[in-house]
């Protein structure tokens, strides 16, 4: 059986380093399986996050050989390097604050969402009406955008987010879902559109958020639609 060398980027006490772990390679094992093996058998100090282990919750976003994926549902396919050793490189997601090793610190992201994007939330406090129906078409449309699990993979892959003042691509998908909700009143719709407006023009439409989303949500398409809605708003 051939050896596998896993190069894992570590971060603790404000220090970054790369650590190599050597393991006997096995076919058809997920990244989560390998990380667990390292933690339980070689080095208990390796920190990473995982919750549902079945691709539903979005806790385990990670980069494998440069690609952002969910660790629990991605089979490790190592690359063969020149000295004919199987290798793979594991790094944390980009564009999001790091807590330790491969763990993201979501607290600042939450604070930012809370501070800047409170307009994303539907203002619907009164529950006066019992009739609260929605068409099947609208529900299908909702479902396609509501698939977002906020795993951060689109943020990690976005080339603009890493260098500029931009917002995580998943926020566009959330905004688009809200403005297309038939129950939203027009003033809130306008306020949401005005809030995303400054960011819309920065998107370079590379489509990486769409192509890498593990839930097939397309922030890229949401951006195009948001632009259309915005221009319609000004036409009126």
């Amino acid at each position: 059986m051939s050896d596998l060398v896993m190069e894992i980027s570590r971060y603790k006490a404000n220090t970054y380093f790369i650590q190599e772990y050597k393991l006997a390679y096995q076919e058809m094992k997920t990244i989560f399986w390998w990380l667990t093996k390292i933690k339980e058998e070689l080095d208990s100090s390796l920190a990473f996050e995982c919750s549902c282990c079945s691709g539903l919750c979005g806790a385990c976003g990670i980069r494998v050989n440069g690609r952002s994926v969910l660790a629990c549902k991605t089979i490790l396919t190592p690359v063969l390097n020149y000295s004919s050793v199987l290798k793979c490189k594991i790094e944390p997601l980009r564009g999001l604050p790091l807590l330790r090793d491969l763990m993201i610190n979501w607290r600042p992201v939450t604070e930012r969402l809370k501070k800047n994007y409170h307009w994303l939330v539907q203002e619907q406090d009164s529950m006066t009406t019992l009739q609260y129906s929605k068409s099947q078409e609208e529900s299908t449309h909702d479902q396609s955008l509501a698939g977002c699990i906020q795993c951060g993979i689109c943020a990690s892959e976005c080339p603009i987010l890493s260098q500029d003042h931009f917002i995580e691509p998943f926020i566009f998908a959330k905004a688009y879902r809200l403005i297309t909700d038939s129950r939203l009143d027009p003033s809130n719709r306008q306020s949401i559109l005005e809030n995303v407006q400054p960011f819309l023009s920065q998107c370079i439409h590379c489509g990486r958020c769409r192509d890498t989303c593990p839930k097939s949500v397309s922030p890229a398409a949401a951006i195009v639609s948001l632009k259309k809605h915005l221009s319609n708003l000004y036409k009126r």
């Binding site: 100090s45 919750s51 079945s54 539903l56 919750c57 807590l99 090793d101 009739q131 609260y132």
Partner: protein, 565 residues
Amino acid sequence: MLVFDVLVVGGGGAGMQAAIEAAKYSKLSVGLISKTSPLRSTTGCTGGGINAVLNPTDSFEKHIHDTLSGGSFLGDHDAIEFLAFQAPHAIMELAHYGTPFFRDDNGFITQRKGAGASAPRCCLTLGHAIAHALYSQILRSDITELSNFYLLEIVVENNCIQGVVAYDSVTGKITPITAKAIVVATGGYGRVYWSRTTNPLGSTGDGIAACFNIGIPLKDPEFIQFHPTALAESGILISEGARGEGGYLLNNQNKRFMSTYAPQKMELTTRDLVSFAIENEIQEGRGFGSGITSHILLDLRHLDPKIFQGKLSQVYNVAKSFAFLDPSKHPLPIRPSCHFTIGGIDVINYQTCATNRPGVFAAGECACISIHGANRLGGNALSEAIVFGKIAGGSAAAFAQSVPLPSSTHLYDATHHWEEQFNSALRKSSPISITQIRNHLSETMYNKVGIIRNEQGLRQALSEIQWLDEQYCLTGLSDTEPVGNTSFIHYVEVGNMLVIAKALALGALHRRETRGCHFRSDYSKKNDASFCNHTIIAKNNNRFEISYRPITITNHVSTGAGRNV
């Protein structure tokens, strides 16, 4: 120091509901701590839907009766009635918060008739959509939401709560938090079966153990719902649909063994009987493999392959992604896995979610209110979390308004005690690792306190748990870094699971009958004369004391049909 009027521990459906409700009270500060982000909670991983009486062919009476009979009449009638009445409002509220429910041709919420339900009642949506909708309410309200905050201890002195001690893995500090009232909503304890559960990694019963340690009893811990078809290696769920659409269960003699257990209904009989049959086949040597991943096969090869693009597309995807098998070409290795833990923190008043400690409230899977009795009906878990989370948040807020800020003397002592425990764990050189203890525990639990139980096995399990407990005290940590120390968290989790496992095995040993999901091969009949009671296990001077409390019975009344929104 962090100070809150109301502190909610746990960020799943119940915890978020509690925080949202408490924040509606003016002038109250509300904190929500959770060990992972609320978006990664068990609520976010569910797929079944949520029960409420909305359909004109349904009625409150049917919901109450189905829940009671599904739970082998061990649930408390008054609490179940309350749930049935409140559930439709909970659905409305979730819809208002932006939860995308599937809709029918008329724009009404699509409802499915679940197993054991006498009418369409299960509102279809995805769990993560509920979690995200609640989370957006957390963002817009004035709640201090702190994820990566791990509960270590609830601090009480003279029957008066002072707050909690928690590990903040972002700062790396063990931190005291003062609180006037606490809502515990930390989820179930399915991970006592470690790899044989469909629950997320965090379902280790932390809040239950913390409550137990301050004298709040555990109610009905022996009732564990198993799902018959989970992947053998990972415990990931293969939905009921696979059998519903005609899948076969095969043993190592290539025989559809359900013919022995349920000749009429075969694979379509109840979950409990299918789980029992699979385990019995494995125990009698007709399974495949060995150890905890022993299994039988779920064969779908005879089905029309088109079904894997349609009704069974989810089954196909799970099989491909997690067992790496194409179900149209290969049978799937399957073994039952723990799906839901029915027992939990003894809630003594369903109208407030209060426990026996003033100021400590509990809701969600960690609490036993008791709705599910001896077995849970599909779709009732989310209803329970959403309805009672709100109740617990409201009562905690009302309680907080009525009491002054507690002293924090004992809180600091407890914090120092945990700091010492962390440091002393670092100094120990372990003869046995935390992973080994956990795996040994989960195998013992699955094999002896799992689906088929008997006196001898349960006694063996108790002595093994005792031995593991002794080993646990000798075990240390090798990760010295304070920030993001997931090893320390797991160390405490395993300690909590040892406490709960002992109570679970004790409850199972003393319940000498078969009821709901509790199957005793040596007492195979229901015994209403002795056991139509809740098991209550309490800790008293480090001893586990067991007692029984009668269930609450009312004469529930018919209250009319559902009304679709």
